[in-house]
Amino acid sequence: MSDPSQEVMTVDARGLLCPLPVIRTQETIKQLSPGTILKVLATDPGSLEDIPAWCRVHGHTVLETRRERDNILLVLRV
């Protein structure tokens, strides 16, 4: 889980369809320092597959994924 003292940023990709949530995540991460925690909010179920896959190829860590009905939350460490 994330350290509460760490800086936490949020990407709101709700209502966007694949691959736009990945693109928004990618664009945000480019601006962040290593160690930053990024929360991604999404509604496209493809995000649950695609964002972790993107993180794996770029070496970022997925700390948590959660889905409640149509709402998806991913917590990443840059």
Partner: protein, 334 residues
């Protein structure tokens, strides 16, 4: 996938670039359609990147891409597919990515094969793509390099030309053999279109949109909605976009604040959007058509709720259209 692996096998660091144009077949369409009946959702480009162990940069070019779709210098293929301009643009955008994002690369490679595609992958088009993209001889096609003059990476010895290939034509057997050699058991469907612009029905819908609006232009929402539902234009000044299943209805719900929308009140049925301006008799016509696609299609009368973009609703009682009343020419795209 193969081209990247061929170059990786020579010890060269490769990164992938994937472009989002708005016309991509997978991705959105997978997400929209009823989830029960779909194959596992995956972004093929990301999946390939993982198989190869390379980074993948996904770039949104949907806005700049409009100019390619609307004004292709080299014209369209069989439908509204501007394949040659598209390739030139994408290779050019890759070079730009190198400049803008400080990605330090020496050359660009693609998986093109001479003769594989009738519009964009011909012997004559290979040098056009290299020249007009600005890549010139820094554009390597590892799968058909032996059929082309040596490029800079080959001449400089960065890449061993002897280990590249001379594939040509539409037969994909040599590629499949190579895939087998690399141990790739799963890969994107050969010859499977990945762009809606190559699809006749989709292209017809886009032409219809331009015709109805009197101008060749589009917004991202327009081209997304062309992928969804039945498009029925009973009058020149409006069309209906009618959900065909639960996933599409859910997707259309997201547009309720942009379009007047209709749903049958007392029977299960689709959600429909009205694209255009409707008056009283048009509204009734639209309601009768939507009722035709509800489970109350065979009753004498049913209720349809029509809601404006401001959220004002009215219930109207209509007789569902009989099958013969629905003119075949109203179906956009066919």
């Amino acid at each position: 996938m193969l081209a990247a692996r061929v170059v990786q096998d020579q010890g060269i660091h490769v990164e992938g670039v994937n472009f989002f144009t708005g016309f991509c077949v997978e991705g959105h369409t997978h997400a929209i359609r009823d989830r029960k009946h779909e194959k596992p959702k995956r972004n093929n480009a990301l999946w390939v990147a993982e198989q190869l162990g390379i980074k993948l940069h996904i770039i949104d070019i949907s806005e700049d891409y409009k100019d390619i779709v609307l004004h292709p210098r080299h014209g369209y293929g069989q439908n509204l597919n501007p394949c040659l301009d598209c390739k030139i643009f994408m290779v050019g955008q890759t070079l730009k990515l190198g400049l803008m994002d400080d990605l330090d690369f020496d050359f660009v490679l693609t998986g093109e094969v001479i003769g594989q595609r009738p519009k964009s992958q011909r012997r004559e088009t290979m040098p056009i793509i290299a020249k007009e993209s600005g890549a010139n001889d820094r554009l390597l096609r590892p799968l058909c390099a032996l059929n082309l003059p040596p490029t800079l990476p080959e001449r400089e010895g960065w890449v061993d030309r002897e280990q590249l290939f001379g594939f040509h034509g539409r037969n994909r057997k040599p590629q499949m053999e190579l895939a087998k050699k690399f141990g790739f058991r799963d890969y994107a469907q050969p010859a499977g279109g990945c762009c809606f612009l190559t699809d006749e029905t989709y292209s017809n819908k886009l032409r219809d949109l331009w015709g109805a609006r009197g101008s060749r232009d589009y917004q991202l929402d327009d081209i997304m909605l062309l992928k969804i539902g039945r498009h029925i234009r009973p009058r020149p000044h409006f069309k209906l976009i009618i959900g065909r299943e639960e996933g599409e209805n859910r997707f259309l719900e997201g547009y309720r604040n942009q379009f007047t929308h209709l749903a049958v009140t007392n029977y299960p049925g689709p959600l429909a959007l009205i694209d255009g301006n409707v008056t009283g008799t048009d509204t009734e016509l639209a309601a009768r058509i939507v009722a035709r696609y509800s489970q109350g299609r065979s009753v004498d009368k049913l209720w349809v709720t029509v809601t404006s973009v401001t959220g004002v609703s009215q219930d109207i009682e209509v007789t569902p259209f009989a099958p013969y009343e629905l003119e075949p020419s109203w179906h956009v795209g066919s």
